[in-house]
Structure formats: C-alpha cells, structure tokens
C-alpha cells in the first residue's frame, strides 16, 4: 500500500531503505529530556479523576501466559466489564487481549458489551515462524471472532536491514486480518536505538498497520517514555505527510497510575487531544488496572485503599 504523498517508497528494497534511512535521526538526549520534562507535570483532583477514568477506558486488559485457562480468561472478561464491582461509575476497559486459542472464550464472555477482543498472532512473542504459519495464526484468530490482531514484526529481518521483507509480511498479515484492526508490535526493547524505533514505526504505518505498539511485554525495557515519544512523533509526522491517522499502544512495564497519566500527558503534548480516545490510544496492561482502581477509590472515599479491595488476577 502506498499513499499519494509517498509514491511507491516500497517498490523495492533499495528505495524503502533509502526512505527509512532518510528519516531524520532522533536526538537521543533531546528525546529523553523532553520525555522527562513532561513526566514532571503534576495532575491533581478533578483532572486526575478524569485521567484515571480515561486511562481505564483505554486499557487492553491482557493475559498472555502459558498457564492461561478458559476460566482465567472469563475472569478477566468479567473484570473488563465491571473493573470495580463496588462502583458502577467505573468505565469499562477498551479491549481484552489474549492468545489466539482463547479468542472464542473471550468473545463469548464479551458479546454485547462493546469491549473488543484482541488476539496476539504471528508466532507471538518471538515472531520466529514462516509466513504461512503467521498468516494461518492470524486467520485462525480472526475466524474465531477477534476484532483486533496484535502482530509482531520480524526483528531479525529488520535489524539485518531486510526492510522489504518486514514490509511485505505486514501487508500480508493486514490482508489476512480482513475487517479486524491490525496493531503492529515493534518490540522496541530489541531495536537498540531510537532511530530504529522511528524507522520501524514508519515501516509499520506505510505497510498499513492501524496501530503501532511498543512491545510484547516479554522483553525489558518495554514502553519507556522516550520510546513512546518517538513513536508519537512518527504518528504525528505520518499524518501530516499522508493524512492517515494511526493509533499508538504502549505495552509492558506500565504498572502505576502515575506511569499511565504521564503517558496521557505525552500524548496530549505530542499529537494533541484528538488522540485521547480509546480509538487511537491504548495501554496494554494487566496489573495497571488494579492500581488505577485503588487510586480511584482513594479519590472517591478520601482514604487510601489497598490490594484487598481489588480483584486478584
């Protein structure tokens, strides 16, 4: 897929490489300083309450364990519908994110709620499988009823400079998705430099991803603030070049309300409040939700809450 403003940059490997390497380099010190400055904003009282509810409504509530069972997924779905059973004013989360074989269970538990079911596919988390297997994985999850597909890019190919291979793979997976939204996981913890993060973000957007996502959550570091900043800037520049609006999903390592609110600040200051909607910004998390709920309870009751007042996952 190409766009009017970027005619055919993916017509061959050399052109694509020339384009990606022609992107301006990231000022590492500047990006880190900018992210750190924005993280010092203090969000209090009514703004905090708004931010907490916004963050809850943006969560992709995730369970990606080898030990997942249908019962655990159903529990998670119940939590997605009513995150705080004691307080009906708590918003629902945006989506539940599971492995492909759990999609049916999640769909059955979430029918009629408006909560999306996201499935990780393409040999998540390593992405080490043939294209045929990756496509079958994707089609399987879509057939089971997944609304969103979280795919991983082939980091080996990307780091070896075989950009066109990565591009073609994303295009093929996007096709296999059909009506389902495609989130492309860059796994920034393995990309080594911010320049690579910027290139991978552009690559994923050019190839037709609807969302770009930082990490699988299986690698550290994951969704750090500077990485998110670089990705948000890529999304902003992509929109001004092509007119297409791409979503962003940080995932992995976001455990506290403070982290989540910092990310909302980053979004607001980088791409603007148009992105402050679950349609364009998601937070992949599991333990984060409990911390947001405890903070919300603190704001409601006026005293500190504790882990006894939220569910065990």
């Amino acid at each position: 897929m190409t766009t009017a403003a970027l005619p055919d940059v993916a017509r061959d490997d050399a052109t694509l490489r020339a384009f990606l390497h022609g992107l301006p380099g990231v000022d590492k010190v500047g990006a880190e300083a900018r992210a750190a400055t924005l993280a010092t904003r203090s969000i209090k009282t009514t703004s905090k309450r708004w931010a907490i509810d916004m963050a809850i409504s943006m969560i992709d509530l995730t369970t990606l364990e080898g030990a997942d069972t249908a019962g655990k997924v159903r529990n998670l779905c119940a939590k997605a519908r009513r995150p705080d059973p004691a307080d009906a004013s708590t918003p629902q989360v945006a989506a539940v994110c599971v492995y492909g074989d759990m999609v049916q269970t999640a769909v059955a538990a979430l029918t009629g709620t408006g909560i999306q079911v996201a499935a990780v596919a393409t040999a998540f988390p390593s992405g080490r499988a043939s294209l045929a297997v990756k496509l079958a994985d994707t089609k399987d999850a879509v057939a089971a009823g997944a609304d969103e597909i979280d795919m991983v890019i082939d980091r080996g190919a990307f780091l070896s400079g075989r950009y066109l291979q990565v591009y073609d793979e994303i295009v093929a997976v996007k096709q296999a998705c059909g009506p389902a939204h495609l989130k492309v996981i860059l796994e920034t913890g393995e990309l080594a430099t911010y320049d690579n993060v910027r290139r991978a973000a552009w690559l994923a957007m050019l190839a037709g991803g609807d969302f770009i996502k930082t990490s699988t959550g299986k690698i550290n570091p994951a969704a750090t603030a500077p990485v998110l900043l670089v990705m948000l800037e890529a999304v902003r520049d992509f929109r001004s070049t092509t007119g297409r609006v791409i979503g962003v999903k940080p995932a992995g390592g976001i455990r506290t309300s403070k982290d989540a609110i910092k990310q909302l600040v980053l979004v607001n200051e980088t791409v603007g409040d148009e992105w402050l909607t679950p349609r364009l910004f998601r937070i992949g998390a599991s333990t984060l939700l409990n911390d947001l709920l405890q903070q919300r309870q603190k704001l409601t009751t006026g005293h500190y809450s504790g882990p006894d007042y939220v569910t065990l996952d």
Binding site: Q297, G302, H303, Y304, S305, G306, P307, D308, Y309
Partner: protein, 282 residues
C-alpha cells in the same frame, strides 16, 4: 557538621516526598539537626513497603525471626555511645541516666527477641473438644501495623512499641516522636545494617497530627497503636480506624513508665488467634 536526617522506608533512606524538613532541638531549645518532615504520601509509600515485606517476615520461622531481632540488639549495642548522646540531648538526661535508658532499650529488644519462638507455646492451646478432632489455637501476626511512637521516651519507648510488633511477625510503619525523632532515625540506621529485611519496619518523622489520620483511615493497615497521641486526638483516629475494623491500641492515660516490666499486652495486641480443627486418628 549540620546533619539532615532522612526517613527509613522499604530499607532505603529517602527524603520526604514533600521535600520538607524541620529543625530538631535539644531539651533546652538548642539546634541539634534537621529531620525530614514526612507527608501523607510518605506514609502511603511506607504502608506499601510494609505490605510487601509482610509475606516474607511473617513466613520466616519464629526461631529465625528471633535471631534477626537479637542481631538488631547487638548492632544497637555497638552504637551505644551515639544513642546515649542522642537520648541525653533529646530528653535532657544526664549521661549516666541516658546510658541506663539505652541499656534498658537494648535489654527490651533482647527480651522481645526471645519471645518470637515462645509465643505459640504460651498463647496457643490444644483445645479439648467433644469429637474426634485435634483442635488447635495458634497466634498469627495481624499484618501491617501503624505505630505512633511515644512522644517523651525517644528510644526506650520507641523500642517498647515496635519490637513487639516485629516479634509477632507483623510489619510496622512507625511515626517517631515529633520533637525527639533523632534516636528513631538512628535506630533506622541500625536496622538497615542488621538482618531485618527492608520494609519490615519503616520509620517516619514529622508532625504526628498530620500523618496519623492517613494511617488511621488507610484501608491496607490492619492495626494502629495510638500511643503517641493524647486521648482527645485518639477519638477521631479511632473513628477513622473503624472504617476497615483495624485493631486499635488506645493511648495510655498518662505517660507510661517504660522501664517497668512490659508484660505481654503489646505482643498479644498484634496477634490474631487462628483455630484449626483436624480429624484425629484414621
């Protein structure tokens, strides 16, 4: 050198989140040092640290817990001179009297250390029941206990209220005497260099009236010792503590005589009794 003391939370010595500190003076009003003025958020962080440490501390064997507490007493004794100087300055005692107080505090710590592996024998019981069952009652730690330390007795009083919490296997957030906090912070330095895991005891300094209501209402605190407040303030704190049915230990009507035999009251205050029925025979 003008020293600025810090808090002791989760095994580390952070400054107050609020960035505040206050001047601590001796009994005659002369400047001694600065101490951190803890805020409600420091109390919140301390409770999180104490909760995190609870599983490990309550799960160690009673014997091992006793050994760790003995070790604290050893390290405490190793810094005896520093404690004597601080207690003398804070409480306006002559060196000899201050020395006796520090010695009593060390003895108190050893005394409570000895209790760790004797609690079950003394406080537990094999209950006779009318059926083919063993029926056993055993003491279990309460959980996270907030302690408002005595205002007058800066070391002996402090040790007398925190050691029983730790001996029973609970973890502790203690707010030191507002006017005499230095021996408490030095005790934190002793704890950090002995074998007590970080978070088992957390020491806050600052205004008790500012921090105490947040600890009293905190839903993740299981008990509160109101020793360091007066009876008038204790009423509101007790009311706040009722929100999650905390164990509450009321303040004494007048300043306690900390050199007296403490008895088991403070140990049993932070223990719950668990009774199990087990089929006999088979």
């Amino acid at each position: 050198m003008r020293k600025t003391y810090k808090l002791y939370i989760g095994g580390a010595f952070p400054r107050s989140e609020s960035g505040r500190s206050y001047a601590v003076t001796d009994s005659r009003g002369r400047f001694l040092a600065n101490a951190a003025q803890g805020s409600r958020k420091d109390a919140r962080d301390a409770v999180v640290a104490a909760r995190k440490a609870f599983g490990g501390w309550s799960g160690t064997t009673a014997y091992n817990r006793g050994q760790v507490l003995y070790r604290v007493a050893e390290v405490l004794e190793g810094r005896r001179d520093q404690f004597v100087a601080e207690v003398a300055a804070a409480e306006g005692l002559a060196p000899r009297a201050a020395g006796a107080t520090v010695d009593a505090a060390i003895d108190r710590w050893v005394w409570y250390a000895g209790w760790t592996d004797k609690l079950t024998q003394v406080l537990g019981n094999a209950n006779p029941v009318a059926g083919p069952y063993f029926n056993l009652s055993v003491p279990e730690p309460t959980g996270v206990v907030a302690v408002l330390a005595p205002q007058a007795s800066s070391l002996l009083g402090l040790v007398s209220v925190v050691a029983p919490v730790l001996a029973g296997g609970s973890t502790c957030v203690v707010v030191a005497s507002s006017a005499r906090p230095l021996p408490a912070v030095t005790l934190g330095e002793v704890l950090a260099t002995s074998d007590v895991p970080g978070g088992v005891i957390n020491i806050l300094t600052g205004a008790v009236a500012e921090i105490a209501p947040w600890l009293a209402s905190h839903a993740d605190v299981n008990g509160i010792d109101l020793c360091g407040t007066d009876l008038a303030d204790a009423v509101d704190l007790e009311r706040a503590a009722a929100g999650n049915v905390k164990r509450v230990l009321r303040p004494p009507a007048s300043e306690s005589d900390w050199s007296a035999d403490p008895g088991l009251t403070r140990l049993t205050a932070w223990l719950e009794t668990k009774t199990v029925w087990h089929p006999m025979g088979v």
